[in-house]
């Protein structure tokens, strides 16, 4: 089964006529994802690499039965694109766009809280169910079908970990990049809930980093609700407080959000934490025994 996306997922690409949108639409389609439509307001009727373009998501959902959307829309227009997708009945919205103002996302989360749709991101690499569907910008070839679920707040660090897993012959059920912003839709706890219920996932890998309290919430959640083994890695032990490490989410502020706190919380919940990325493979193997 995997979670959230599979070979039945019908993807609409919002912002398909832009440079990134067009490129990744093709990449996704090449991976085997069912990319059924694109949307760019005012460009309805065109085609991008054989994919029909509509003016509104509503039309894409009507005409092509799209149920998942992925956004490559400039940040100033991204929140509107999310609203539009949700309003059109899209069940899963994957927002690749980075640079959306935090308070704009605060409003978006209020909008989402009234309905059933899920948002992954923003500022994230997307979601992939290896061998079935890739909705995002990850390099598909490093993934391999299997039974390890991956949830990560970091992009390239995920690739690093996944690459090592794949090289060790350990495939992934679904891998989700949660995104690097302070306000994100889909969080560790959401992923843990779904992986726990997914019969095709045996182990979950959490890749966390400094900033926020998502890892602590995940630790809590695991001790109460998760029976499957979970292993983790946290980046940023050497990060100094008050300095943003790349994206707005990764910052130790007010003395909280440190890697130490997170590692402590995870270990207290019985989750083994790798002291370096290369050790994750070993922990996963151990968990699978």
């Amino acid at each position: 089964m995997s979670i959230l996306v599979d070979n039945q997922t019908r993807v609409v690409v919002q912002g398909i006529t832009g440079r990134d949108g067009a490129f990744h639409a093709q990449q996704m389609a090449q991976y085997g994802t069912k990319v059924v439509a694109g949307v760019t307001p005012g460009k309805g009727g065109q085609e991008v690499a054989g994919i029909p373009v509509y003016n509104t998501v509503w039309q894409a959902a009507e005409e092509e039965k799209a149920n998942t959307s992925v956004l490559y829309v400039p940040s100033a227009f991204a929140s509107d694109a999310i609203y539009e997708a949700v309003d059109a009945g899209i069940q899963l919205v994957v927002c690749i766009t980075e640079g959306i103002p935090t308070l704009e996302m605060v409003k978006v989360m209020q909008y989402l809280s009234a309905g059933q749709a899920r948002l992954i991101g923003p500022n994230c690499p997307g979601i992939i169910t290896p061998g079935q569907a890739k909705v995002g910008i990850m390099p598909g070839h490093i993934f391999q079908p299997g039974r390890v679920g991956v949830l990560s707040r970091s992009g390239t660090l995920t690739y690093e970990v996944v690459y090592q897993l794949t090289q060790a012959g350990i495939g992934q059920s679904t891998s989700i990049g949660l995104g690097g912003d302070p306000i994100i839709g889909f969080r560790f706890v959401d992923g843990l809930e779904l992986f726990e219920a997914d019969p095709e996932t045996d182990v979950v890998v959490l890749i966390g980093e400094i900033g926020g309290t998502d890892e602590e919430e995940a630790a809590d959640y695991v001790s109460q609700h998760v029976s499957k083994p979970v292993v983790a890695f946290i980046a940023g032990l050497t990060a100094p407080p008050g300095k943003r490490m790349g994206h707005a989410g990764a910052i130790i502020s007010g003395g909280s959000g440190t890697a130490e706190e997170k590692i402590e919380a995870l270990e207290a919940a019985g989750i083994p934490v790798a002291s370096k990325p290369a050790d994750i493979v070993g922990l996963v193997k151990k968990a699978m025994e």
Binding site: T102, S154, T238, A239, G246, A248, G255, K276, A278
Partner: protein, 377 residues
């Protein structure tokens, strides 16, 4: 993005929050003139983007314009936590009956703005939060309704008994929230909010951090950026589209991706080394970015080795290798360089490097260990 106290007070004034009269001065003469115009006693406050200015001697009171000039000369040019004081704010000294704290941030857990008030103002609020959290009263705001007047009243009634003062403070708190929301702040604070012996309420200090992602729609705040008040390397990095944070180690790092960059730093430390920096060049293979990154790194005399950790994803490794080669040629590096290159088209990339007498390894572990050996050597 941080703005100076005097700029934060400009924002406050725009929202009708009462702030003491003040003028910015960049020379002792200007300090004297400002003090004379405002009327002594005045406070002379260094304008630098760090906390703890008071303890560092960056805030002084002057009783006469002459004293102001003398103190201004002391403060201007001094260094506070590595930043040189280029400007001071000369401001009316208000007599203080009580000091409180008002602030607004976004709470990442509830994903909503949180308003905080405390009667323990005038001191480091993070310390208060750690040691006596019960002294901070918090309220989560429904962002669609904003901070409602009754909520502001309810909060300030917890720190003020006098209804006249509470009423002024409640209005200030609402204005503070509006400024936070409308200006896309990531943090806004009044510390201290002062009640004078005449029963007036003033924002004596002001802190305002802007959400970098919102600068495109807050151009008037973007214009407040003081390039001279930033750490030069970080400024240069930002202007080149790089994410750079200077640290104190010897291993300079150039990495694509923030998580991988942090992971690299951690691994250096893990193997007994010390990273010289955090540096994320992003997903791009542009030689310009790599060149800029190396120039910034090499300016740090502590750096003994340059480590590249590149995971090619959508970006192809051969493109990255070409970028690396031309950057290294252009900058002209004397230091040893170690490279890790993995991912899409890694073999082609390595071949390009080899033709330019550069060797790339496969794993992150390997490249880090190699770098540390070189530093040790």
């Amino acid at each position: 993005m941080k703005v100076h106290e005097y700029q934060a007070k400009e924002i406050f004034a725009k929202y009708g929050i009462p702030v003491p009269t003040g003028q910015v001065a960049q020379s002792p003469q200007e300090v004297r003139q400002a003090a004379a115009e405002i009327g002594c006693p005045v406070m002379i406050k260094s304008q630098v983007h760090v906390g703890g200015r008071g303890k560092a001697g960056g805030i002084k009171m002057a009783q006469t314009p002459e004293e102001a000039e003398t103190l201004g000369a002391e403060i201007l040019g001094m260094k506070i936590k590595g930043l040189e004081v280029g400007k001071v704010l000369v401001t009316q000294a208000v007599d203080i009956d009580s000091e409180a704290y008002l602030g607004v941030i976004v709470d990442r857990r509830s994903q909503k703005p949180v308003v905080m008030v405390s009667a323990a103002g005038g001191v480091d609020i993070e310390e208060v939060a750690r040691e006596t959290p019960e002294k901070i009263h918090k309220l989560t705001v429904d962002p669609l309704f904003g901070l409602l007047p009754f909520q502001a009243r309810k909060l300030v009634f917890r720190i003020y008994e006098d209804p006249k003062i509470a009423s002024q403070a409640a209005k200030i708190l609402q204005k503070l929230y509006r400024a936070f929301w409308e200006c896309d702040a990531s943090l806004i604070e009044i510390n201290p909010l002062v009640v004078t012996s005449q029963g007036e309420v003033w924002a004596v200090d002001a802190k305002f951090n802007e959400d970098d992602n919102a600068l495109f729609r807050q151009s008037w705040i973007a214009q407040m950026r003081d390039r001279q008040a930033e750490i030069p390397e970080e400024l240069e990095a930002r202007e080149k589209g790089l994410s750079f944070v200077k640290l104190d180690g010897t291993v300079g790092c150039v990495v694509n991706g923030a998580g991988l960059a942090m992971g690299t730093m951690d691994l250096i430390k893990h193997y007994g080394g010390e990273p010289a920096n955090f540096l994320d060049i992003g997903g791009s293979s542009s030689p310009e970015k790599v060149t800029a990154a190396m120039r910034i790194l090499l300016r740090d005399a502590n750096v003994k080795v340059v480590l590249f950790n590149i995971f090619g994803g959508i970006t192809r490794c051969d493109d990255v290798a070409n970028g690396l080669v031309s950057a290294i040629k252009e900058v002209g590096v004397d230091l040893p360089i170690v490279i890790r290159l993995t991912g899409t088209n890694a073999d082609e990339g390595k071949e390009i490097l080899r033709r330019n007498d550069l060797v790339a390894v496969d794993s992150m572990e390997e490249v880090v260990q190699k770098a540390i050996q070189m530093v040790g050597a």
